[in-house]
Amino acid sequence: MLSRTADNLFWLSRYVERAESLARILETTQRLAALPSAYGGKTNEWESAVETAGVAPAFFSKHEEANNETVVSYLVFDRDNPSSILNCFETARHNARSVRTALTMEMWEAINGAWLELRRTPDRKLAGEELTRFLGWVKEIGLRFDGSASRTMLRNDIYDFSRLGMLLERADNTARILDVKYHLLLPDEGEVGGGLDYYQWSAILRAVSAVTSYHWVYRQSLKPWLVADLLILNDQLPRSLAACYGQLVRHLDELARAYGRQGPAQRLARATRSGLENAEIKQIFQGGLHEFITSFICDNNRLGLAIHEQYLA
C-alpha cells in the first residue's frame, strides 16, 4: 500500500483515540471538580486536566487561570490547540477523506457523521449536564469508529496500521494519566487515606474505564500500588501499557510477516514489551514511578518514529 495512505490511517486512528482520551480526562475532571470543596482543598482539577493532556505551556500562554470555562474551551473547541477535540475530528476526517478507499463505509460514516455533527455544535460554553452529554457523545464516536474497524475491516496491512496508531496513542495517554497523579501513588501498602485521595484514585481508574475491572482483578479495596499495577503491568486491562504493547508487537509482527522483513520498529516494540513483562510493581516504585513513566513515554515516542521511518515516509 502507499506509504502516504498508511500514514493517514495511522494518524486517523491516533486522532480518534486522542479525542476519546480527552473526553475521558474531562469527564473525570468534571467529577472531581464537583466534589464539595471540603474534600478539594488546594488541588485544581482543571489544571491537572491540562497537564494530563500534555498542553499546559500552550494553555497558560493563552489563559491565566484553569477553570471549567477556559479548559473546556481550550481542550474541546480551540482551533489554536492542534489536539482539541474539534481539531482531532477535523484532522481525522481530513485524513479519512484522503484515504476513503482504504476505509470501510462504516468507518467513514462514523467519522464523517461526527464531523458533520460537531460542525453544527456552536462553540459555546459547555458545563454541567450539557458537558457530560457532549463528552458521552465523543466517547461514543470512538466506540463506533473502533467497533466498525474491528467488525468490518479486512485483516491486512491497512488494519495493522490503523491499530498501531490507536495503540501508540492509547499507551501514551494511560502513561500520562498516571504521571499527573504520580505524587499520590506512594509505594505505601496501606489503605487509601482520606476522602479526597479515594476520589482521586477512582478518578484514575475511571479515566481508563477500569473501576469495575479493578475489583474483579484484585478483589480488594483501592490500593495505590495495585492501581499502578493494573494500569502498567496487567495485560488483561485493554488500556494498560502491557496490553497496548502486547497488541503493538502482534500487529508489527503481522506486518513483518506480510512484507517478509523485520526492522527497527519490531525490535523496539519487543524490547519495551519484555521490559513490561519482566517488571514488578515494587521495583518500579523503588526506581521511582515518575522516572519509569517518563522513560516509557520516551520509548513510546521512539517507536512512533521508528514506525514512521520504516513504513510511512
Binding site: 500500500m1 502507499l2 506509504s3 477523506r97 476513503r100 478507499t101
Partner: protein, 473 residues
C-alpha cells in the same frame, strides 16, 4: 427567438411520449408527500456517502451537494443506438486529429484547419510534436456533451478530451435511484451502467506500455483533497481497485515511474491522471507545480508509462476547434458526421464577428477556452449591461470567442419547489477508447438547469443531475 421547446415527456398536445408512459402514470398517482419524502432520503444518502463538490471561490460552501433530481430522464433504445454510433465516430476522429496535429500535420497542409488555431492554442504542447503516446492513442476517456432540440435531433455542444468529470454522479445517481424507487425499476427494463468501472479498467489495461508486465499497475493521480472533483477521484479508484496517488507518492528513476509503498518502490505502468498537463512535471511544464512528478514526461517519452489522457489532447477540445469538427470527421473518415454540430460563428472571422455583434441579443457567446459555464453570454437572458460588456470584450479580442444560436434545449419533468415542472437538460455520455475496442455504457450524466427557463446546466452554476435511463427493448 428559438422555436418551441421540446419536452421529452409531454408533447404539445398533452399526450405522453411512449418511453415515458409508465413514468407519467406513476407520477400522476404518486402522492406529493411521497416525492418529498424520497427527496429528503436521497439527500441524506448523498450526504452520508460524502458525495460533495467544491465550488471555486465559494469559501462558505467548501463542500456542497450537487442538487439531485429524483425524476429519471428516459431515452429509448433506438435513440441510444443513433447516439452511440455518432459518439464512436466523433471520438475516433478526435484521436486521429490529435495524432495528426502532433505528427504529419496533414490536415494543416490540406488547409482545412488554420495553422494558428493549433500553434497559438494554449493547449498545444510542442513537447509532444513528433512523439506518439503508447499505441498512438490519445483520448482514452472522452465526455461528449449532447443537447437535444426535438424528437429526432441531437447536437454535440462540446467535446471534452482532457479530463472529463461527472461519471461518479452517473453511477451514484443510479445507485440511489435503485434504492429509492425499486417500484419504478420493476416497471422498466433499464440498461445497467454499473459496468462502467469494469469497462474503464479493461480500457486502461489495454493501453499499458508494451514494456510492462502482463499485470500492469494502474494508478489514479489526483491533485488532492482540495480539488473540486476529489470525491470522484477516490470513488473511481475504489471502484477500480487501484491506488489513488498524489504527485508526492510517485517518483521517477531511470525513466521508470515508481510509487512509494510500505513495502518499498513499486513500478507504475498506467496513470489515469486527473491533473492538467501544466502540472504534470515541473521539469517540463510549470516549475512551481508541487502536484506533479519530476521526470514524468521523460519516462512518458521513453514509452515506459501511459498517461490517460495523453499530454496535449486539449488541442482538440476548445470551442474554436469545435466548429471544425464536421470537416475533421470528413477529412479522416471520409464520411458525413452522424451527430450534428451547433452552427457556430467563429468571431475570429471578420464577417462572422460583424454578424455576432449585430445579433448579440439572440446568440450565446462563449469564450474559446472557457469551461464550466463561466465567461458566457446568453443573449436572450442577458441585461443590456451584460451585452455591452461582451460587445467590448468581442471587439477587444474577437478570436477569443465563438457564438451560437440560442438552442431550444429539450426539457424533462423535474421535481422542484412548485412540484413537477419541465427544466432544460443536456447529456454527457462517456466514451472509452482502448486498443481493443470502444466502450460506452448506455446513457451518461444528465445535467439539469434547476431554475425555470435557465439554460445553464453546470453544477458550478446551480445545475443539478438526473439518473439517465436507456430502455432495453
Amino acid at each position: 427567438m428559438p422555436a418551441a421547446t421540446f419536452d421529452e415527456m409531454t408533447l404539445p398536445d398533452g399526450s405522453v411520449r411512449e418511453a415515458y408512459g409508465q413514468l407519467a402514470e406513476w407520477l400522476s398517482t404518486a402522492p406529493a408527500d411521497l416525492l418529498d419524502y424520497r427527496v429528503k432520503e436521497a439527500e441524506l444518502l448523498f450526504r452520508r456517502i460524502g458525495i460533495t463538490f467544491a465550488v471555486y471561490g465559494d469559501a462558505q460552501a467548501q463542500e456542497r451537494l450537487i442538487p439531485f433530481d429524483i425524476i429519471p430522464r428516459i431515452l429509448t433504445n433506438p435513440e441510444w443506438v443513433t447516439l452511440k454510433a455518432g459518439l464512436e465516430q466523433r471520438v475516433k476522429a478526435l484521436n486521429m486529429y490529435i495524432s495528426d496535429v502532433y505528427g504529419k500535420r496533414e490536415i494543416l497542409k490540406a488547409g482545412i484547419v488554420p495553422n494558428e488555431l493549433v500553434f497559438q492554442n494554449a493547449a498545444f504542447r510542442p513537447e509532444m510534436a513528433g512523439k506518439a503516446p503508447p499505441h498512438d492513442l490519445w483520448v482514452h476517456i472522452a465526455g461528449i456533451d449532447i443537447v437535444r432540440v426535438d424528437a429526432e435531433t441531437f447536437y454535440v455542444l462540446e467535446d471534452n478530451a482532457r479530463t472529463p468529470s461527472g461519471v461518479s454522479y452517473m453511477l451514484e445517481n443510479r445507485e440511489v435511484m435503485i434504492r429509492l424507487f425499486p417500484e419504478l425499476f420493476s416497471r422498466h427494463r433499464v440498461a445497467p451502467v454499473e459496468r462502467y468501472a469494469d469497462e474503464l479498467l479493461a480500457t486502461l489495461r489495454s493501453i499499458a506500455p508494451r514494456s510492462s508486465s502482463s499485470e500492469p499497475t494502474i494508478v489514479l493521480l489526483t491533485p488532492g483533497v482540495y480539488n473540486s472533483a476529489y470525491y470522484e477521484h477516490s470513488f473511481l479508484a475504489d471502484k477500480l481497485g487501484i491506488e489513488l496517488v498524489e504527485g508526492r507518492d510517485l517518483f521517477v528513476r531511470d525513466d521508470v515511474v515508481y510509487m512509494r509503498t510500505t513495502e518499498g518502490p513499486k513500478r507504475v505502468d498506467v496513470i489515469y491522471r486527473r491533473l492538467d498537463d501544466e502540472f504534470l512535471d515541473p521539469l517540463v511544464f510549470r516549475p512551481d507545480s508541487a502536484l506533479g512528478v519530476p521526470g514524468l514526461v521523460s519516462a512518458y517519452h521513453a514509452g515506459n508509462v501511459t498517461l490517460t489522457n495523453a499530454i496535449g489532447t486539449g488541442v482538440a477540445d476548445d470551442k474554436a476547434i469545435y466548429s471544425y469538427m464536421p470537416e475533421i470527421i470528413r477529412f479522416y473518415l471520409g464520411t458525413e458526421p452522424l451527430l450534428k454540430n451547433v452552427p457556430t460563428h467563429r468571431c475570429r472571422e471578420p464577417e462572422a464577428l460583424k454578424y455576432v455583434l449585430d445579433h448579440l441579443e439572440e446568440l450565446v457567446v462563449k469564450e474559446v477556452h472557457g469551461s464550466g459555464g463561466y465567461g458566457m453570454l446568453v443573449g436572450p437572458h442577458a441585461t443590456k449591461e451584460q451585452i455591452e460588456l461582451f460587445r467590448a470584450k468581442l471587439n477587444a479580442s474577437p478570436a477569443g470567442f465563438i457564438a451560437q444560436p440560442t438552442l431550444a434545449l429539450s426539457t424533462c419533468p423535474t421535481y422542484v419547489d412548485q412540484g413537477v415542472a419541465p427544466r432544460h437538460v443536456d447529456l454527457r455520455p462517456f466514451v472509452l477508447t482502448g486498443t481493443d475496442e470502444v466502450r460506452i455504457v448506455p446513457g451518461g450524466l444528465t445535467r439539469v438547469a434547476m431554475k425555470e427557463g435557465s439554460l445553464v446546466v453546470n453544477s458550478s452554476q446551480g445545475g443539478g443531475t438526473k439518473d439517465t435511463w436507456v430502455l432495453d427493448t
